[in-house]
Symmetry: C2
Subunit: 501 residues, 2 copies
Amino acid sequence: MSEIDIRELVENKKLRDKITTAEEAARLIKPDTTLGCSGFTPSGYPKVVPTALAKRAEVEGPIPVSIWTGASTGPEMDGELARTHCTKRRYPYQTNDDLRKGINSGEIQFADIHLSHNAQNLRYGFYGKVDVAIIEALRITEDGGIVPTSSVGNSNAFVELADKVIVEVNTVQPEGLYGIHDIYTPENPPNRKPIPISNVHDRIGLPYLTCDPKKIVAIVPSDVKDSQRPLAPEDEISSKMASNLIDFLSVEVKNGRLPKELLPLQSGVGNIANAVLAGLSEWPTDGLTVYTEVIQDAVFELLESGKISFASSTALTPSPDGAAKYYPHINDFKDRIVLRPQEISNNPEVVRRLGIIAMNTAVEVDIYGHINSTMAGGTRMLNGIGGSGDFARNAYLTAFLCPSTSGGGKISKVVPFCSHIDHTEHDVDIIVTEYGIADLRGLSPRERSEEIIKKCAHPDYQELLRDYKRRAELGKGHEPHLLYEAFSWHERLRVIGTMKK
Amino acid sequence: MSEIDIRELVENKKLRDKITTAEEAARLIKPDTTLGCSGFTPSGYPKVVPTALAKRAEVEGPIPVSIWTGASTGPEMDGELARTHCTKRRYPYQTNDDLRKGINSGEIQFADIHLSHNAQNLRYGFYGKVDVAIIEALRITEDGGIVPTSSVGNSNAFVELADKVIVEVNTVQPEGLYGIHDIYTPENPPNRKPIPISNVHDRIGLPYLTCDPKKIVAIVPSDVKDSQRPLAPEDEISSKMASNLIDFLSVEVKNGRLPKELLPLQSGVGNIANAVLAGLSEWPTDGLTVYTEVIQDAVFELLESGKISFASSTALTPSPDGAAKYYPHINDFKDRIVLRPQEISNNPEVVRRLGIIAMNTAVEVDIYGHINSTMAGGTRMLNGIGGSGDFARNAYLTAFLCPSTSGGGKISKVVPFCSHIDHTEHDVDIIVTEYGIADLRGLSPRERSEEIIKKCAHPDYQELLRDYKRRAELGKGHEPHLLYEAFSWHERLRVIGTMKK
């Protein structure tokens, strides 16, 4: 039990009888049930109940469960439950080593689903029943409303759909988060109405998840912090990509294709994404806005400096340093940040209406502009597609970023044919590496390959790519390929350890 | 000149001075300009001006132009201008033999762009300037409003963006079409508002294209009909696919995942698409609806019988027989059909809100559920992606249909790895062949390959596919592949003329 009296945080007095231990709550989870858990990135996910479930599994053997969350979560859930062989199925995204191992061995069935689609498809009944929701909360209101913590994710859908709800009341999450959330659930067709967001700051819902108090079967105190990940120090290559992209945006403004305060920015998770946003500290105009799925350190910083005036997201994902710096006075950000369900933060309807500038990282790109976001060597899952598909298809401008090489230069990130395709040529406007920017808008495939090789490929690989292009074009075709050697680069890497010839 | 006095159809009297011949109008088209032309499928496209331009080119040599339309058009435009080497660039879709030849030889630069994106990206300035719009019209109103004919396509954007507008007033298109169109153009971000469509029948705009009369530089009479294509007689395989899909929809209704009058239907162009809709004549409930990009014969038929209560589209694409049957009393359909700009008919915002059931045909599918919609052997353009990406990503239910084989059984439509990917595994709910339906919702890649091979592949290819799957899975991975033989099926076809071993 934490020092704060957990009973005070359960405003509905009748529900106070449900306060129990993590071990008791974990007993409510039967084998072969489906869990719907809060959490998006290692933020706002349940910690003590999954830990208790894993401990029980260590003694009693695996308790097989299917697990839905918002996106990835932390090690208490994705690590422990995979390690103890409880995770039978896992949707819709992950970043955990143990979980990834289980997925790639075929033990864990994983499906990589656009993040904005999860909740609606669950409501439509496409993925079966959600039995138990486990939600991390700041508090429970008088009428059973559950106040989320550092993320919203799919929690509104899980609470609505589950038979039973377990709440972890977390006493170390910043209290000041109460009021930052905006929970809105669209109706199912044929009764759905327009989502009434026309500006990033529009609030359209309630500050908590509505829940029939009768469904709440256990309330468990938790004092475990989000397992935030440190950001790597910014490296030269990320800075160069960021500055290439920012130069490009400046030209777009100069040519009247973007307003000077740009359009709402979306940026993926991780170091490159953070570097791009950090680079905007030099942008000449204040009042930038963000409509995205995660808020990392750079956004807090630019909100503080006034460069960014408002940020909409579904999760706060600061580094430990960022959390230490910004969480103590999170209250000051509440008029400039809103956290929405991922069905709304990532909704293509809103993405297209607002005219998002979508910036996501690629695992590899090919000479015609197809993007691999998920898989190494066409087969081994890295993390997943996450929300990139929600944003890329309907953004105003869609950028994919990656360094030109990896593996000490042995892997070219520009290849003849992507070994896995998550985003097609039809969805990509620009590709950014540390060498430059390929602007693919309106180009035919042959023109695209010229542009990508010239502007984005590492000099060590340019001639090899040109050679492929030249020989492929001898055979004619709209998008010339030599299918029998399209994956030869990946094969060289597999067999001799480098894509170089 | 036609027998109707063309002057009567130009209500704005000042504009009557602009009435001229196709030859004179074609003289206004300078080399190296960009044309924005009406037309979507062989419906509502300009005919006499392109013909005159091609004739001039035959004498004077090619007049190189870039051509934007709604989608494909007819032979007077796509055929003649490609044949006379006038077409330098062509967007965003085509179905013409001569044009295809030019695209695949590399002479014509073609880019395959989601149909709902064309107009907005042109307005954003991403593809350069539209110099001259050529629009087929029923009439011109007092204030310069241009009334489209059998399609809307991107005409509203072309008229808005072009410096000069040439109007072909077509006197053989059914007059009764006046009033069927609903023209609405969204504002550009950051000022865009929700598209106010919550039902297929909602009308939100004007029945004509608004145009500053000063921009109209020529008005040309035309009495050339749309070059409609006959529908092939329904074959056994199409009927089987249609009945498989309809059985599936019945089960969805029984399980409460669809209402008994279904949700609005979208169906691609062609024989298979028409067969699926025709199959719904046996559906037990009246009041079905359609939200799609083309209305073919089957929809007219079901509107007439009352099975379908309303259809929204951007084009009417009847066969010659269908046109002969339905066009003379098209007036009777005007309260049950609306034609919208393709930016609206195909808009993902509306597609997702209404909960469309999207049914499109595939060129090939792979064992993990990726879809090739455009390219033969990974290189040779067939038609293009058209609107399938607009619908597939955000539909309620996304189906792709194809026969299990083609080429007399020598080509399996289910392959280890699609030779070109237009729709990723993340966007596909079900795959339909004449053998059955693979329901991929919520399945992991390994489960998907099992389901697709079992339910959809031709028996002649099942063991070969299983063999690939088995050997690939030995190497582990989330989506097991043997990259060095992933395209070996396409290679066998190329070298020995069959995918069979």
